[in-house]
């Protein structure tokens, strides 16, 4: 279909000059790349811990949250109220008690909390798997 023999178009187009990227282009790109890298290392969980560790931490945190907020734990309340703890720990304890009281007040069932925690975990796992096995339009 395309007769390229002695084609003046081919010859002329081949001789045309390429558009030149403006001066300092590479430096500007690298500046953006480094800024992006910096922000990724701050917010990306993979920046300083491997995904497996984050999965483990996330699971532990999820289980702990379900445990703390779903059940009335007398020992935990007693420890926070009676133990001779430092001020900062007391504030933290009070904060936890407040959240617990709030959760009890809104009368959320253990099943609902478990469902929310489960959804959270699934999102976390999805994110980790997507990062690990990323296939997209650019994975040619």
């Amino acid at each position: 279909m395309l007769n390229e023999n002695n084609d003046i178009l081919k010859k002329l187009i081949a001789e045309t000059d390429l558009e030149k990227a403006p001066g300092g282009f590479t430096a500007k790109v690298m500046k953006k790349v480094r800024a992006e890298e910096k922000s990724q290392s701050l917010f990306d969980p993979g920046g300083f811990l491997s995904p497996q560790y984050w999965l483990l931490i996330g699971s532990a945190l999820g289980i702990a949250l379900i445990f703390i907020f779903s059940f009335d734990i007398p020992l935990l309340s007693w420890l926070i109220e009676n133990a001779d703890l430092r001020n900062i720990t007391k504030i933290l304890g009070q904060f936890l008690l407040n959240i617990q009281a709030y959760i009890t007040q809104i009368d959320i069932s253990t099943t609902s909390i478990a469902i929310f925690a489960g959804i959270g975990m699934l999102i976390l796992i999805d994110r980790l798997l997507r990062k690990r096995f990323a296939f997209g339009i650019f994975s040619l």
Binding site: I8, L9, I13, A21, T26, V29, G136, F138
Partner: protein
């Protein structure tokens, strides 16, 4: 500046050597800029977009599996980014009637082109190419200047190979017609 194979830089970047990416930028910046400006036709927009193209490429580099050439992969990012930018504004459409396209002899136009000086030839070509719709301008540039194969152009643009072939054929015809008109006007101007 002599550059190594793209894969050499890619491996270094994947090993955590970010600075190696600057070599890839340096190597491909003019082509990426050319692709983007052919579509956007604005230097200000093209610079920003070309920078974004490299940033996207850097962020997606870990997913690049080397099944195609790095340049083809990079140009497809450039093409898609530029096209996305133009979605809001209407792309220039073809204004030449297909029936007119076939009413001339290519040899006749080639002959008239060879009668011009090299500078005049380039000037005529520039005028004719600037008159082409953005996408057509890019396709013919990739085919004749970059010497990309039809399969590669198909990968870059996402068009089917047969569509690329047909389009290239039509663009060539269209360019010849535009050159014929330009040459005719110039010859008339010279005569006066």
């Amino acid at each position: 500046m002599a550059f190594r194979e793209d894969q050499y830089y890619i491996e270094r970047i994947k090993d955590g050597e970010t600075s190696a990416f600057s070599e890839l930028v340096e190597k491909h910046k003019d082509w990426v800029y050319t692709i983007v400006i052919r579509i956007l036709r604005s230097h200000e927009e093209a610079e920003e977009t070309a920078q974004d193209v490299f940033l996207k490429a850097y962020n997606s580099l870990k997913t690049f599996q080397g099944k195609s050439k790095f340049s083809t992969w990079l140009y497809s990012i450039a093409y898609n980014t530029a096209i996305t930018k133009t979605r809001k504004r209407k792309l220039k459409t073809s204004d030449l009637d297909d029936e007119i396209i076939y009413n001339y002899s290519e040899d006749e136009i080639s002959k008239s082109m060879y009668e011009l000086s090299p500078e005049e030839q380039q000037q005529s070509l520039r005028k004719a190419m600037n008159d082409l719709p953005e996408e057509e301008n890019l396709l013919i540039t990739l085919f004749y200047k970059k010497e990309n194969s039809i399969a590669e152009i198909s990968e870059i643009t996402g068009m089917s190979s047969s569509n690329v072939k047909v389009k290239l054929h039509r663009i060539r015809k269209k360019l010849y017609e535009k050159l014929r008109i330009i040459n005719k006007i110039e010859n008339q101007e010279k005569a006066f």
